[in-house]
C-alpha cells in the first residue's frame, strides 16, 4: 500500500492551498480529485468547442494576499485582469454606472442623486473601516468563546482588545452591519433606489436571504473585504478563467513536492481506533496516510466520508442543522458577437465590466419572494460579465463568452429540478436579459444552464451552495460549520476539514485551506 504523510480529499482551491502549505511544510502530500479537472467550483472548461467557460465561480477578489505571497502564485500562473465597472440598466431605459475612475463615478451618481454622490464618499470610508475591523478575524483560527483553554482565552482577549480599539463609533457601526438587512443599512446612507439595489446585491449573493432580510448587511461587508485587501484590491478576472487560479495553486503545490491526481474519487476515510489511517478509493484501492484532510463540505466530510456513528451526537446534529439551501444558478453563453444594451447601445467600455440586473430593491425582494415559496425568480437578479472582452483567449476571435450568475434558484424547487425545469430557468434568464439587450437571443451559439441541483451533481457541493454552506451570521467564525468544531479538527484524530464550510469560508478566498494546513503543521507528528 502506498503511503503519504497527508492526503487531501478534493482538489478545489482550498484543498489545493492546504496541500501546497502542507508540502511546503515538509509533508509528503497527495491531493485526490474526483473530477478530471482541478478546481472544484473554480474550473475552466471548454464545454463548447473554442469557448472556455469559468463554469461556476467567475470572478476573484478575496484571495488572501498572504497566500499569493507564500505560494508565489504569480510565478505559477496567477494573473488577474481588471473588472472595472458595473452598469445597472434601469426600468426607465436609463442606466446607473460605477466606473473605475472616481470622478466619472461621482459625475454619474450626481446625475441621479447629488446627495448620494456625497454620501458615497463617506459610506466608502466607513465600509473601509468596517472591513479593516473584520479583517484580522479572517486570518485567525476561531477561538471557542465557551472554552476556558488558555489558547482560546488568549485569542479571545486579543479579539476583545481589537474591538475595543475600534472606538465606540465604529463598534456601533459594526454592530449595525452585523444585525441589519442590507436594504435598511443602505437606507441610512442613500436615496437612489437602483444604487441601493445594486449595492445590496452583494449582500444576497449565495445566501437564501433577500435584501430586506436581517443579516444580509454582513454579506455586503464580506464582499467589501476584497476591496481593501483581496488579490488586487478589487474584483478581477483570472486570465484563462478561474480554473487557471486552481492550476496555479496546483503548480505551486507540485513545486513543493505534492502529488496531485485527478479522476480519483474517495469512497471513504479509513478509521481505526478513532484515528484516520488513510482513504479508500472508489476503485477499491487504499492509500495510507497519518493525516487525512477533507476539502469537501461539512455534510460530505462528516456524513459521507466517515461513519456518522463514530462521531459525537452533538456534531452530527449540528451538521444536520447546518444550512446549505443553494439559492443561485449559473448560465454560460457562447456568443457570436457582443450584446447591445438598450440603455447603452453598441460596444463600449461597459462591456468590459459587470452588468447588474438589479433595477430596484423591490425587484430583488420580489425575486426573493419567488424563491421563498419554492420557485425560481420569474425576474431574477443577475450579475453578468463577458470575460472574453478582456481575455481574448476565452473565445475564438470576434466571439465571446458570457457568464451570468443568477439568483434566486432554490435548490428545493417545488416538484424538484427536472430537465424541463432547467430549460425553463435558462429561458427565464435569457428572456430577462433580452429585456435589456434585445439582440442576445440571436447571438447565442451555445447555452449551459446550471441549477443548484446541477452544481451539486457536478461539483459535489451539497444542495448547490456555492459557499459550502450559507455565509449567514449563525454559521460564521466559531460557529462554522458547528460550534466546538470550528478549528479544522474533527473528533477523529488525524482527520481534518479545510473547505469553505470552515472559517472564513466563501469565495475564492483560500483562508480555510491555509488556516487548516497551518493548524495541522502546528500539531506536529506525521
Amino acid at each position: 500500500m502506498k503511503r503519504y504523510d497527508t492526503i487531501v480529499i478534493g482538489g478545489g482551491h482550498n484543498g489545493l492551498i492546504a496541500a501546497a502549505y502542507l508540502a511546503r511544510g515538509g509533508r509528503k502530500t497527495l491531493v485526490l480529485e474526483r473530477r478530471p479537472v482541478l478546481g472544484g467550483a473554480a474550473v475552466t472548461e471548454e464545454v463548447f468547442p473554442g469557448f472556455k467557460y469559468s463554469v461556476f465561480s467567475y470572478v476573484v477578489s478575496l484571495l488572501r494576499p498572504e497566500i499569493i505571497r507564500d505560494l508565489e502564485l504569480p510565478r505559477h500562473g496567477l494573473q488577474i485582469l481588471p473588472l472595472e465597472s458595473t452598469v445597472t440598466p434601469l426600468e426607465n431605459g436609463d442606466y446607473l454606472a460605477a466606473w473605475a475612475d472616481p470622478d466619472e463615478t461621482r459625475r454619474e451618481l450626481c446625475r441621479h442623486s447629488p446627495h448620494d454622490a456625497d454620501a458615497a464618499v463617506l459610506f466608502g470610508r466607513l465600509m473601509h473601516h468596517m472591513a479593516m475591523a473584520v479583517k484580522p478575524i479572517l486570518g485567525m483560527v476561531p477561538p471557542d468563546p465557551a472554552s476556558l483553554a488558555p489558547s482560546d482565552l488568549r485569542s479571545l482577549l486579543r479579539l476583545g482588545g481589537h474591538f475595543r480599539s475600534l472606538g465606540a463609533t465604529r463598534f456601533h457601526a459594526l454592530h449595525k452591519l452585523m444585525t441589519m438587512s442590507s436594504a435598511d443599512y443602505l437606507d441610512e446612507w442613500f436615496d437612489f433606489d437602483p444604487l441601493k439595489a445594486t449595492k445590496s446585491a452583494s449582500g444576497i449573493i449565495g445566501t437564501f436571504l433577500g435584501p430586506r432580510s436581517p443579516g444580509s448587511a454582513y454579506v455586503l461587508l464580506h464582499h467589501y473585504m476584497g476591496e481593501i485587501d483581496g488579490a488586487f484590491r478589487a474584483w478581477g478576472f483570472q486570465k484563462g478563467g478561474t480554473g487557471a487560479i486552481s492550476d496555479s495553486i496546483a503548480n505551486a503545490a507540485r513545486s513543493f513536492g505534492a502529488d496531485v491526481r485527478t479522476g480519483v474519487g474517495v469512497e471513504r476515510v479509513l478509521v481505526r481506533d478513532g484515528r484516520a489511517t488513510g482513504v479508500a478509493l472508489s476503485t477499491g484501492e487504499e492509500i495510507a496516510a497519518s493525516v487525512v484532510v477533507s476539502g469537501l463540505d461539512p455534510r460530505r466530510t462528516f456524513m459521507q466520508l466517515v461513519e456518522p456513528k463514530e462521531l459525537p451526537g452533538g456534531l452530527v446534529e449540528g451538521v444536520g442543522r447546518y444550512k446549505f439551501r443553494g439559492s443561485s444558478g449559473k448560465v454560460n453563453l457562447a456568443l457570436d458577437g457582443l450584446p447591445s444594451f438598450t440603455c447603452m447601445p453598441g460596444e463600449g467600455p461597459h462591456l468590459r465590466g459587470a452588468v447588474s440586473i438589479s433595477p430596484s430593491l423591490e425587484y430583488l425582494e420580489r425575486a426573493y419572494d419567488d424563491a421563498k415559496y419554492g420557485e425560481f425568480s420569474r425576474q431574477p437578479y443577475m450579475d453578468i460579465v463577458i470575460p472574453s472582452m478582456i481575455d481574448p483567449g476565452m473565445a475564438p476571435p470576434g466571439k465571446h463568452v458570457m457568464s451570468i450568475f443568477v439568483q434566486y434558484a432554490p435548490y428545493h424547487l417545488n416538484g424538484g429540478w427536472t430537465d424541463s425545469k432547467r430549460e425553463a430557468f435558462g429561458d427565464t434568464v435569457v428572456k430577462t436579459l433580452a429585456r435589456h439587450a434585445p439582440n442576445i437571443e440571436s447571438l447565442i451559439l451555445h447555452r449551459q444552464v446550471l441549477t443548484p441541483a446541477d452544481i451539486e451533481r457536478i461539483t459535489g457541493l451539497s444542495e448547490g451552495n456555492i459557499f459550502q454552506g450559507e455565509l449567514a451570521l449563525h454559521q460564521l467564525f466559531f460557529m462554522r460549520p458547528v460550534p466546538r468544531w470550528a478549528k479544522y479538527r474533527t473528533p477523529i484524530r488525524g482527520y481534518w476539514q479545510c473547505g469553505a464550510g470552515t472559517h472564513p469560508g466563501g469565495g475564492i478566498m483560500g483562508g480555510s485551506g491555509r488556516l487548516a494546513a497551518l493548524e495541522i503543521l502546528k500539531e506536529g507528528g506525521r
Partner: protein
C-alpha cells in the same frame, strides 16, 4: 470622460504642451505654455486670467440662509453685509476642518458659497428644519479669476462698475460688455485681483471680452501651476495638499482644526452655536498642538548640499506637493506639505505643519531635501505667513 469648464472652448486651444490636469472631475490646464514662468509673471506683474470654474458653488436663499451658514461655518456670518465676501473654513462637531471657501452675500436673503469639494449633503444636513433653499450652481456658473497689479485697469475698460470704490472682499453685481456678472475682489494669489462669476452660457463671451480688453495690459491666461506658486507665496492653505477634509480623512491624525492650519482668525469666539464650537473653544483654551507656518530655506545650506555633488541648486518652476519631514535637534517636529521656488522673492519656500513649541517665528529647523538620490537636510527658518503681502492687495 472628465468634465470641461464653460471656458474650455477658449482655453483648450491654448494648452500648447497638452499639460492637462484633473481638478474636481474637470479637465483643466496645468499651464498653457510648457513652463508656467510667464503665466506666473503675469500674476505678479500684469494681469492673469485663471479659469476657476471647478470650484463647487451653491446658491443659498431664504429667510434662514444666514442662519444656516452661520451655524455651519466658523466665522460670524450675521456680520456679513450685503455685498461683502467672507473667507471661512467649516468644521465637523469635533472642530476638524471639512473644507474652506467663500461666502458672498448677494442680497439680504441670498448667499453664494464656494467650496473645494462637494458640500451639498453637508449643507442639507445642516439645513434640517430651516426655511432655506440650496441650489447647486456649480455647473451653471462659470468662474474666472483676474489677478495681478493691472487687473483693475483691465476691468475698468469693460465694466461700468466703480472699481476704485470696490474694497477688498467686497463684490458688485454689474455687467461686463453687457454680460451680467458678479465681480468680487477676491482671489487665491494674495495680489490685487478679482473673481468674476457668470452664467455658463455667457462664459466664452466673457473670456473674449477680458482677453481683448486686457491685451494692452499684458493679460495672459494662466494655469494651476502658476496659481500654485502664487498661493504658496500668499500662504494660502490648499485642501488635499496642506490638509485633508475631516469627511475624507481615513484616520484622526489626518484631520486638522482651523487653529492648526493658520485659520484660527476665522473662528468667532462670540457668535451663536456652530459646528465644532465647543471643541474649538477647548482647543483655544489649551492652545493648539500644531501650527501651519512658512519656512524659508537658507540658501547657503541648500547650495552646499548641491555643491557637494558639483551641481547648482535645482530650482523647479513648478511647486512641489510631497510631504517633507522637518527636524529640530535631530527629532522630527513636523512636515512641509507644499513648497516652491519663489521667482519674486528669490527664496525657496515651504508651507509646513510644526508641533508646539517649534512653530515660533524665527526658530531654526531643517528640512529634508533629496539630492542625487540621497536624503539630506537643509537649514530653514520659521516665518509668519504670508511670505508676500503687497499693499495693492487691499489698497
Amino acid at each position: 470622460m472628465l468634465k470641461t469648464s464653460p471656458f474650455h472652448p477658449r482655453t483648450a486651444p491654448l494648452v500648447r504642451a497638452q499639460t492637462w490636469r484633473r481638478w474636481s472631475g474637470y479637465q483643466m490646464a496645468s499651464a498653457y505654455d510648457p513652463h508656467p514662468d510667464r503665466e506666473y509673471a503675469a500674476i505678479r506683474n500684469a494681469a492673469a486670467l485663471i479659469d476657476v470654474s471647478p470650484l463647487y458653488k451653491y446658491r443659498i436663499t431664504g429667510p434662514d440662509a444666514a442662519r444656516l451658514l452661520d451655524r455651519m461655518v466658523t466665522r460670524d456670518v450675521t456680520r456679513c453685509r450685503v455685498g461683502q465676501v467672507f473667507y471661512t473654513p467649516w468644521c465637523d462637531a469635533a472642530g476638524k476642518v471639512i473644507d474652506d471657501g467663500t461666502i458672498s452675500r448677494l442680497d439680504e436673503g441670498t448667499f453664494r458659497l464656494t467650496s473645494a469639494e462637494s458640500s451639498l449633503r453637508w449643507l442639507r444636513m445642516n439645513a434640517v428644519g430651516m426655511h432655506v433653499a440650496i441650489e447647486d450652481v456649480s455647473e451653471s456658473t462659470g468662474a474666472v479669476s483676474l489677478q495681478g497689479p493691472l487687473a483693475r485697469l483691465v476691468l475698468q475698460q469693460v465694466s461700468p462698475a466703480d472699481f476704485g470704490a470696490l474694497k477688498y472682499f467686497r463684490l458688485v453685481q454689474t455687467t461686463l460688455r453687457e454680460i451680467p456678472v458678479t465681480i468680487s475682489r477676491t482671489g487665491y494669489t494674495g495680489d490685487l485681483g478679482y473673481e468674476i462669476w457668470v452664467d455658463a452660457p455667457r462664459a466664452v463671451d466673457l473670456w473674449d471680452a477680458l482677453i481683448e480688453a486686457g491685451k494692452p495690459f499684458g493679460i495672459a491666461p494662466a494655469g494651476v501651476w502658476a496659481l500654485d506658486i502664487a498661493r504658496i507665496e500668499a500662504g494660502l492653505v490648499m485642501l488635499d495638499v496642506d490638509y485633508h477634509s475631516a469627511h475624507r480623512a481615513m484616520i484622526e491624525e489626518q484631520k486638522s482644526s482651523p487653529y492648526e492650519i493658520n485659520l484660527g482668525w476665522t473662528v468667532s469666539a462670540d457668535k451663536g452655536p456652530f459646528n465644532g464650537r465647543r471643541a474649538l473653544a477647548a482647543e483655544r483654551a489649551r492652545g493648539p498642538a500644531w501650527a501651519f507656518v512658512g519656512l524659508e530655506v537658507e540658501w547657503d545650506s541648500l547650495e552646499r548640499l548641491f555643491t557637494a555633488h558639483h551641481l547648482p541648486p535645482h530650482l523647479s518652476s513648478i511647486a512641489w506637493r510631497t510631504s517633507a519631514p522637518i527636524f529640530r535637534g535631530g527629532l522630527q517636529v513636523g512636515y512641509a506639505s507644499s513648497g516652491c521656488w519663489s521667482p519674486l522673492l528669490k527664496k525657496s519656500l515651504a508651507l509646513a505643519h510644526l508641533r508646539a513649541p517649534h512653530f515660533v517665528a524665527g526658530t531654526w529647523v531643517t528640512i529634508e531635501i533629496t539630492v542625487e538620490h540621497q536624503r539630506l537636510q537643509a537649514d530653514a527658518i520659521v516665518r509668519k505667513l504670508p511670505f508676500f503681502d503687497p499693499e495693492r492687495k487691499r489698497a
